[in-house]
């Protein structure tokens, strides 16, 4: 379970006058469940890339439980992400030709982390997300099933935080709803901090807190209201 603390973050892309993302201060408590919303180009994706360590920032501090990943080298950020952050994306980024189980295990195998325990957990996770055939080839699955495999992959190494970037946007309403429920339930069950970027109002409304981005800045933060509602 990880807490996020951002200070003086400013992400500037070459050729753009205003920063793509500028956050003076933001804290997300460990174990909280936060929705990030906002129009396209409001800086949501940049936010995900920065906090997940996929992109480097020159200015500001991004602390996960006190560790500033902005100061990490590329390889160290990769290691940190592999161990602590579970990513679920709009595109599933699964590998055809491999089975559901192999896809879940692939990043861990690359990192040399696929121990017997992890393999056992992969089986357990697949049944948790409702897939009964771990050996099924990924290309034979429906999109909803594929996203379930991706969720299993994200949770494999018991990450302290789950970051989901539009996890339901490429699914139909029914399977989108099921996937949204699954992510929420699993984050609670695993005790992970959850950050969900979504247009999906229904999904966003079920989280503790909703942060809205506009033009690269936080335009609204609903901590108080969500807190009252809870």
């Amino acid at each position: 379970m990880l807490a996020l603390n951002i200070e003086n973050l400013s992400v500037v892309f070459p050729g753009l006058s205003s920063p793509a993302l500028a956050i003076g201060h933001l804290s997300i408590a460990a174990g909280s469940r936060v929705a990030i919303t906002g129009a396209s180009g409001s800086g949501k994706s940049t936010f995900v890339n920065i906090v997940a360590g996929l992109e480097r920032t020159r200015q500001g501090r991004i602390r996960w439980n006190g560790e500033d990943i902005a100061g990490f080298s590329e390889s160290r950020r990769d290691r940190f992400r592999a161990a602590n952050i579970g990513l679920v994306m709009q595109e599933f980024h699964l590998f055809p030709g491999l089975s559901a189980l192999e896809n879940v295990l692939l990043p861990a195998r690359f990192a040399g982390a696929a121990t017997a325990d992890i393999i056992e957990r992969a089986h357990a996770l697949l049944s948790t997300v409702g897939l009964s055939r771990p050996g099924q080839k990924i290309e034979t699955m429906s999109r909803g099933e594929m996203q379930r495999v991706a969720i299993g992959r994200a949770l494999l190494r018991k990450p302290g935080v789950i970051i989901a970037d539009e996890p339901t946007a490429s699914l139909d309403a029914e399977s989108g709803e099921a996937v949204g429920d699954l992510i929420l339930d699993l984050a609670i069950a695993e005790g992970s901090t959850l950050i969900v970027v979504s247009h999906d109002q229904r999904l966003a409304s079920r989280l503790d807190r909703c942060i809205t981005f506009g033009s690269g800045r936080i335009s609204e933060d609903s901590t108080a209201t969500a807190g009252e509602a809870a």
Partner: protein, 438 residues
């Protein structure tokens, strides 16, 4: 990891196949050049091994070897016939056989020689017997004629517009064992018959020397040594006038070499010992004759051929460089197409080193398979070329790998190692966020 590579290759099978084929063809080109050159060298050396010492009239040593060992048709200067008699009587000589060229049949060279050579060339016959009369012939193992068949000698080669001799028709009496030399395609006939056909018997040429002169200048290597040569005796069993126009195919062979035998282009000599070989070479090197060890002449020839090989190797290397360049292009495009995949792997926690490794391994695997296939293809191509060459020349060309080929393979693999690192580095340097955006 291996399963990931395999499923990836299965997915990108067409591109992978192209990479493998490109590498295979470029490798095959280089390998076949090397193998073929070696086959030519080994084949000709083995062909020359059968002949210890060749003696001819003064002139080009190389030409003497090419004509006598490889039966390349070309006019040779003649030496006096008495040399043969001297050699035959020499105690250091196991056997000595004259050879005379000039005629052909169906593209096979007809070589006039003696029973001595026919007996010793291949160590026996597969079928039939050695010629015993003037109208009989023995064929090499690769001559596609059958026993008892007729051979109508043609002066020169068909492509030179040679005329067919009407004086004599040979009948095939026997077939030699294979020797792996150009002689497998030869038709061996009694040299006495060749002389008679060309009107050159010892006793005849006083009368007909002037007449026959134009003939042996044209293409024949056989002819009179000296027109002024005096001989006191007309042969015991021949009357030249009788045989003029029509020869007696049943005439017996006379292989007692008198001093007045007609001029000879070359004599093959089998010395009794190596020491004898050197002594004989020394002795027959002076004056009007040259004596050569074919192997030694070939060695000199290879020194020249070596340069040609260098050029071929350079051309093959150039082709390989082109392929390498196109492979670089293929990989850069390939990595471009796989950016998202690589970005995703990293986003989900695969370390950069592992991605470098997998991209490297995958590409190296393709190139290595290509190199392996290239060696097989090159070997097959060399075998095919050797077969074709053997078909026309009779010389067996052994296609064999040597230890230095492992060096070539090592160099190619080392190159593949470096080449495969390029896409791997490209993949390594990509930012995952950028890759996923693409």
């Amino acid at each position: 990891m291996i399963r990931f590579i395999l499923s990836d290759l299965r997915r990108l099978w067409a591109g992978s196949l192209v990479v493998v084929l490109l590498v295979a063809l470029a490798t095959a080109l280089g390998v076949s050049v090397v193998l073929q050159e070696r086959a030519l060298r080994l084949g000709s050396a083995r062909a020359a091994d059968k002949f210890d010492l060749v003696i001819g009239a003064g002139g080009s040593e190389t030409q003497l070897v090419l004509s006598s060992v490889f039966l390349q048709p070309s006019p040779l200067p003649l030496m006096r016939g008495e040399v043969l008699g001297k050699l035959a009587a020499d105690p250091r000589v196991d056997w000595a056989a004259p050879i005379g060229f000039g005629d052909s049949f169906s593209g096979y060279p007809i070589v006039g020689t003696t029973t001595m050579l026919a007996q010793n060339l291949s160590g026996g016959l597969i079928e039939g017997k050695i010629f015993a009369r003037e109208g009989e012939a023995v064929i090499g193992s690769a001559v596609k004629l059958s026993l008892g068949g007729e051979i109508k000698p043609m002066h020169g080669l068909p492509e030179e517009g040679g005329e067919t001799h009407i004086e004599l028709v040979y009948h095939i009496a026997g077939r030699l064992r294979p020797t792996g030399t150009a002689w497998d395609r030869a038709i061996l006939v009694p040299i006495q018959a060749v002389w008679h056909i060309h009107g050159l018997a010892a006793e005849e040429h006083a009368e007909e020397g002037a007449e026959s002169e134009h003939e042996h200048e044209a293409a024949s290597g056989t002819g009179t040594a000296e027109h002024g040569h005096e001989h006191e005796e007309a042969g015991e069993h021949h009357d030249g006038h009788e045989h003029h126009g029509k020869l007696d195919p049943d005439a017996a062979l006379d292989e007692s070499w008198t001093a007045d035998a007609p001029g000879l282009p070359a004599i093959l000599v089998k010395p009794k010992t190596i020491a004898d070989a050197y002594k004989l070479r020394q002795e027959y090197r002076s004056g009007n004759t040259v004596a050569v060890f074919p192997g030694e002449v070939l060695t000199n020839l290879y020194a020249t051929l070596g340069d040609a090989k260098q050029i071929l190797v350079a051309v093959a290397s150039g082709a390989q460089a082109l392929v390498a360049a196109s492979l670089v292009l293929v990989t850069v495009i390939h990595i471009g197409q796989r950016r998202r995949q690589i970005g995703a792997l990293r986003a989900f926690g695969a370390p950069r080193g592992a991605i470098f490794g997998i991209v490297w391994l995958e590409f190296f695997f393709l190139v290595a398979v290509g190199i392996g296939l290239g060696f097989a293809l090159g070997y097959a191509a060399a075998l095919l070329l050797s077969d074709m060459f053997s078909e026309t020349s009779g010389i067996t060309m052994p296609v064999v790998f040597a230890r230095e080929d492992a060096g070539l393979a090592a160099v190619l693999l080392a190159f593949a190692t470096v080449l495969a690192a390029l896409p791997a580095v490209l993949a390594y340097r990509q930012s995952p966020a950028q890759a996923l955006r693409a």
